[in-house]
């Protein structure tokens, strides 16, 4: 299984790298090309917010799985000013920066799970996950590798 990937996000050039790493990891984890693009786009939006509003931060991509699903968890953390009104920031067209306010709500829509903590005075933490259903064959194969088959 692929390991976790830590990405320092300091400037807009780091977004290019973050998108590429996200896509590569999603591919390794068996996501379709379309899902990999959705994940990479969501990460791009989150990373840009970090660069524009918080002087950068860190994004960690963590492969995660259970019996029936396999997926990726994305944890984005910065020590910027946070977001006063999180609910408003999650509404379409609410942005004030370069993103036109579609980034955060878009990321929430395309990921399966999305949590944000941004108004406790300790920067912003976005935690989001996307899952894919593992097929029978894949589970059998893993069972064999683990000595159960």
């Amino acid at each position: 299984m692929a390991g976790e990937v830590r990405l320092a996000i300091a400037s807009d050039a780091d977004l290019v790298q973050a998108r590429a790493e996200a896509r590569a990891l999603a591919g390794e984890l068996g996501f379709s090309r379309t899902d990999a693009t959705l994940i990479a786009t969501a990460i791009s939006e989150i990373a840009r917010n970090m660069v524009v509003h918080a002087d950068g931060g860190e994004i960690v991509l963590v492969p995660t799985s259970d019996d029936v699903r396999s997926g990726v968890e994305v944890i984005a953390r910065d020590s910027g000013p946070g977001i006063d009104d999180v609910e408003r920031a999650l509404q379409e067209g609410s942005g004030t920066g370069d993103g036109l306010g579609l980034g955060l709500p878009g990321a929430r829509r395309v990921m399966d799970e999305f949590e944000i903590a941004a108004n406790d005075g300790r920067g912003t933490v976005v935690r989001m996950r996307k899952w894919r259903v593992r097929d029978e064959l894949e589970r059998l194969r893993e069972g064999r590798l683990n000595g159960y088959g």
């Binding site: 290019v16 959705l38 993103g99 579609l102």
Partner: protein
């Protein structure tokens, strides 16, 4: 990396070769706006097939490029949006309208020919 801009007849063709950072996208905007003037181009084709992500910034920038070019007298056609990128753009509710899009370069050139011909017929 700098996006090569080729002149073909009265048109400019910007062929993006790899993923671009935000500042590279803005550089492309500026150099296209400048070249439209110096080369007296009536149309621009931007090939985005090499972009594997078009997020809100990229979508907005492509619109800005087309609007800037329009003010300088040139129409813009975007070509080569990948199928998975198109799906993601819909999911993120990003669109490029009113910028014209086409499947490939050939179709884009036909669109520009049609537009510039119409323009001339109307005495513009």
């Amino acid at each position: 990396m700098t996006v090569p801009i080729l002149k073909q007849g009265g048109y400019l063709i910007a062929s993006i070769q790899s993923a671009l950072s935000d500042s590279e996208v803005l550089e492309l905007r500026d150099s296209l706006a400048e070249r439209v003037g110096t080369l007296r181009s009536q149309g621009i084709v931007i090939d985005v097939a090499a972009l594997d992500v078009i997020d809100s910034f990229a979508a907005r920038s492509l619109k800005t490029i087309a609007q800037t070019a329009k003010l300088r007298g040139a129409d813009t056609v975007i070509v080569g949006i990948q199928p998975d990128v198109a799906v993601a753009m819909v999911q993120f509710r990003l669109d490029l309208s009113p910028v014209q899009t086409a499947l490939d370069l050939e179709e884009a050139l036909a669109i520009l020919d049609e537009r510039t011909k119409k323009g001339r017929a109307n005495g513009r």
